[in-house]
Amino acid sequence: MAGLQDIRRRIRSVKNTQQVTKAMKMISAVKLRKSQERLVALRPYASKMMEVVRRVVGRIRGDSEIQPGPAAQAFLSPREEKRIRVVLVASDKGLCGGFNANVLKAATAFVSECQAEIVHVDVIGKRAAEWAKKRRLVPAGEYLNIPLAGFQRVVTEISQGASEQYHAGEIDALYVIYNYFNSAVAQTPTVFRVFPMAMDRTHEGRDAMEVPHLLEPDPNSVLETLLPRFVETELLRNLLESSASEHGARMAAMDKASNNAGEMIAKLTLTMNKIRQASITNQIIEIVSGANA
């Protein structure tokens, strides 16, 4: 009865795997809650900030009286996009379904379609770093194993660096590629341009009655604190979106794995019982036919 032994061993092995996936699912659920809470709290602030900055920038862009400072230049005097900086956000660990594959696919598509030269790549997460290496894009900034509490530091570093680069004429735009968090089970890979800011008609002089903002005490002191704050807020939001997406994706993947393991155990148990029953039936037949003889 070697078959029976084998099946028993397989059931034990699948059960072990199931325990691991169940534990990972629960850990991801806790981490998801933490990231999601911070993301949901930040989103209203970020969207208000976006709205305000769009309104202010839309109306004062092209105002010859304002001499923009280093941080404001990226917003107020957009240049033709020839050289760009890209921030790619993925995860450090795998086992999270299509999370990394999707965002890296979006990154690949972006790189191949992009007209401008990519002069600076920041990678966040080991998977993003591996992707960049495969494509011989040497990452200028590599951020691995960043905990939730470390996001602010990363964000400040990138934001300051990027606005200095714009000021120095080294880059013309800053892009972020990340997973947007729709819900715990759905993420959308997203390419987002932080600056120069995309303006459509709704933001540019939407209401002729409205005049440009007074910037008090003076334009530069307001813009030079507001705009870096805006860049940081957006980057922080993007990192949180990605973090929540990652844990959501992992939770969903591990839930599915646990279910599959359960199904497999049920099938194997059924086969095992059939074999056992068959052997018992055989033995009975042997005994009965032996007694008859």
């Binding site: 930040l42 209203p44 602030y45 202010v56 007074l214 008090e216 005490p217 307001v222 507001l226 807020t233």
Partner: protein, 140 residues
């Protein structure tokens, strides 16, 4: 011209307040208090630390604000605060403890940097106590 202003206060931690009000007064970083009535010209400025007052049906209410930005339009005031609390969010005991701690730090401060830090902490705790109508907050 509409008779009310849409006042919205948000912080990175949470949306704090949103309502239609008749008048807003908020502290700015550079120029003291600004009073905003409906129909105000568009304005963008930095917010200081202190109490933001708003008027609803003739009643004066207030919330705390600590730094950030204010955008004013004819029918809206949007405050992107670094920190902000409504009255029910203030923890009186914590604010009082923080005031005591700040006073102690202020006495022990060696450098100007320590001094400024302690003073900022003291100011923040006093603003919270004043907001909650606590005796220690008076005479601020």
């Amino acid at each position: 011209m509409s008779q009310l202003i849409k006042l919205e206060v948000v912080t990175p931690e949470r949306p704090v307040f949103s309502a239609e009000v008749a008048e807003v007064q908020f502290p700015t970083a550079a120029r003291g208090y600004y009073g905003i009535l409906p129909g105000h010209t568009p304005l963008m400025t930095e917010v200081g630390d202190g109490l933001l007052y708003y008027f609803q049906e003739g009643q004066k209410h207030w919330i705390t604000v600590f730094g950030g930005f204010a955008e004013v339009g004819p029918d809206r005031v949007t405050i992107l605060a670094r920190e902000s609390e409504t009255m029910d969010m203030i923890d009186l005991e914590r604010a009082e403890a923080s005031r005591q701690r700040a006073l102690k730090l202020l006495k022990e401060a060696q450098t100007e940097h320590d001094m400024a830090n302690a003073q900022a902490k003291l100011d923040a705790s006093l603003i919270r106590l004043q907001a909650a109508g606590h005796p220690s907050g008076h005479g601020f």
